[in-house]
């Protein structure tokens, strides 16, 4: 990508920047609105794409999508199929009421929306417990409730993998933009070592902490990241905190790949984790 096209609200998306495949319909991501241009002559009104946020225009020719990438600190707005980390607020007969973002309505998680859950085997979650869940519906219209689930209703499995209660570990707050980046980076492919979306911090940490047993990580689109280490005793806590610190300062300071590597080395040395 050479020169990014930056749009402000109200700007038209120039048509020569749109993916040219005609086979399947164009999908609109966040920040782009389809407006009709009321034309004076007859009913043939044309359509125009305009930006509703400030951001960099990104297109995906393969999936035929167009969206705007805006500032990373923005609030998370639930979208179907997003993976999020939610915290149980309280439970009622049918649902767990979960906090997804501060100061917003609680999301509903069915008591039986877990892998293999029946009335007898459902997980007993208490206030403050964490779940890794998928947004199953956001409802329609004003004041609609967000529903989340930890199971794929079609297969009855916790798909994609890892959905369900998160036990142990620790949650760190990151910006929503960084969370999206982490998800993209980890989902693309973890094995080849080069930077995806300019992120090397996780692969670097993985390499360095391999000896002490590695770690588990879950990234929620709502700006939360959960980290747990399997190592025994103090090392587990130390590594968890080290990982959290690395992620947060990569996010806050917008570090490039070399700085990320430096940061990992520095933090691990400070925490006396590097051998």
């Amino acid at each position: 990508m050479s020169t990014p096209l930056i749009l402000l609200p109200g700007d038209e998306v120039p048509s020569n920047h749109l993916p040219s495949t005609k086979s399947n319909p164009l999908k609109l991501g966040s920040g782009v609105r389809l407006l009709s241009q009321p034309s004076t002559n007859s009913a043939a009104s044309s359509h125009v794409l305009t930006a509703s946020q400030a951001g960099i225009l990104t297109t995906d020719a393969k999936r035929n999508t167009v969206s705007l990438q805006s500032f990373s600190n923005r609030r998370y707005i639930p979208t179907t199929n997003d993976l999020i980390i939610a915290q149980i607020h309280h439970s009622s007969i049918d649902y767990f009421h979960c906090i997804v973002t501060p100061h917003t309505a609680q999301a509903l998680l069915g008591q039986l929306s877990f892998e293999g859950a029946t009335k007898k085997t459902r997980p007993m979650l208490n206030r403050g417990d964490l779940v890794y869940a998928r947004v199953s519906s956001v409802g329609l219209g004003a004041g609609a409730e967000v529903e989340i689930t930890c199971v794929n209703p079609a297969t009855g499995k916790a798909e994609p993998g890892g959905l369900g209660p998160l036990t142990g570990g620790m949650v760190f707050d990151i910006s929503t933009g960084f969370a999206a980046r982490l998800i993209r980076a980890s989902s693309s492919s973890a094995d080849h070592g080069d930077a995806i979306d300019g992120l090397v911090v996780l692969s670097e940490l993985g390499k360095k902490l391999e000896s002490s047993g590695g770690f588990e990580i879950a990234v929620g689109r709502n700006g939360k990241v959960w980290v747990d280490c399997s190592a025994a005793g103090d090392t587990a806590i130390k590594s968890t905190i080290a990982i959290g610190r690395c992620l947060q300062s990569t996010d806050d300071n917008n570090l490039n790949t070399t700085d990320q590597k430096k940061l990992v080395t520095k933090v691990l040395r400070e925490m006396k984790l590097s051998s």
């Binding site: 407006l35 241009q37 305009t50």
Partner: protein, 402 residues
């Protein structure tokens, strides 16, 4: 509803709603139907309340109705009623913490000013010098000599409950009135000053002077010893909206105007022996305020024909195009003068124009505000200014009669 049955007995079977219910259920459609009647019906376009778009409600003003105040006024704008009382209290200059400092630093300026003010008293109308304007401003604004306070009384409209803190609207109106009092410089600081002219130096005092080094002091200088301000009148302007049916600002400001025009300040003087200020209780000796001009407000609300404009995902035409479309009539809107409560709920875009007229009849805009939308622009504002100027003539008559 019993009344409904009597109104429309002709078609009892069909689903028909009496007008008041229709107005509540579909306020936008109701007003739109009134403003754009079918061509066949041959009815003129009028608002739901029967007024033409640029017609104001019947206005009446009354002054001096509150007897315990220095001045009072009541203004009725249809069902919106505002009462205003002005109470004057004395503020001694010795009670002003920064007074002596600020006065000694510009004592010379003050002396010159005092002279020129005395002069101006004789010559009547004259161009004010910049220094005078500044002095006027400093006294009124920095010493807070005008204290308006507006309250929307409990029950003036359904939304006002007893014991609730002042609504944002109340506070905003109070501020608007105060800032308008300041920016129009309606009240003259001179009217609020209580002067004291130190007496001519008596012969014995002259002698005392002679004992000292001022051997060559002459009577002239003694005579021109500067007059000093001993106190100010502070005007507490309390406005109460006792009934609110839209357009509170116009009613409130005009009640302030009526009250200030009615305000009489008793003659006050510095009593040297008692070292205090005495006031005369004779009405004959009291004097009225001489206000600068008569700024009359006219408020407008914009009613857009397209109720679903906010829902429609269409390209918003830019400024010039919008004007062109309005001319063609594809985009329809009505600018409603003096909107009542019902119409205020249906208009987002508001405009308020305050005009005054000079002696020669030239219209001067004192304040012009519009916000909340993008449909009103130059051409509309020009028309609104003309309407406001006509409103000024009308209001001047009403105010002069009361």
């Amino acid at each position: 509803m019993v009344s409904a049955a009597t109104v429309a007995p002709a078609a009892p079977q069909s689903l028909s709603l009496p007008p008041p219910q229709f107005a509540r259920l579909q306020p936008h459609a109701y007003l739109l139907a009134h403003l754009s009647p079918p061509v066949a019906s041959n009815q003129p376009s009028a608002r739901a309340n029967g007024r033409a778009p640029s017609q104001f409600r019947v206005t009446s003003a009354n002054s001096g109705s509150l007897t315990h105040t220095n001045g009072s006024g009541m203004v009725r704008l249809g069902d919106t009623t505002a009462v205003c009382g002005v109470r004057a209290e004395l503020l001694h200059t010795e009670d002003i913490p920064s007074w002596s400092v600020s006065q000694s630093s510009n004592a010379n300026k003050r002396r010159r000013l005092a002279d020129s003010i005395k002069l101006s008293g004789q010559s009547g109308d004259h161009e004010e010098t910049e220094a005078e304007v500044e002095e006027d401003r400093a006294h009124i604004e920095d010493l807070n000599l005008l204290v308006p306070n507006l309250s929307l009384s409990t029950g003036c409209a359904p939304g006002f409950l007893p014991g609730a803190p002042p609504a944002a609207l109340t506070q905003a109106l109070s501020h608007k009135i105060l800032s308008l009092l300041h920016s129009t410089r309606l009240v003259r600081a001179e009217d609020l000053r209580v002067w004291y002219q130190p007496p001519n130096l008596g012969p014995e005092e002259l002698e005392r002077h002679n004992d000292e080094e001022h051997m060559d002091v002459d009577a002239d200088e003694a005579e021109s010893k500067p007059a000093e301000i001993k106190a100010f009148w502070v005007l507490y302007i309390d406005i109460m909206i006792i009934s609110l049916a839209g357009n509170p600002f116009d009613a409130a400001w005009m009640s302030v105007l009526t009250a200030l025009r009615d305000t009489k300040l008793p003659k006050a003087w510095w009593d040297v022996d008692n070292e205090t200020i005495l006031c005369s209780d004779s009405i004959a000796e009291s004097r009225k305020l001489s206000l600068r001009g008569l700024p009359i407000p006219s408020s407008f609300g914009v009613f857009e024909a397209d109720a679903a404009a906010g829902w429609r995902a269409v390209v918003i035409p830019d400024g010039e195009k919008l004007k062109a479309e309005e001319k063609k009539g594809t985009v329809q809107k009505w600018i409603l003068a003096d909107p009542d409560g019902y119409e205020e709920g249906l208009s987002q875009e508001r405009a308020c124009i305050i005009v005054d007229k000079e002696q020669n009849g030239k219209t001067v805009i004192v304040s012009m505000e519009k916000h909340g939308g993008w449909t009103v622009d130059t051409e509309d504002l020009r028309q609104l200014v003309d309407i406001s100027a006509r409103r000024w003539d009308e209001m001047k008559q009403i105010m002069d009669q009361c």
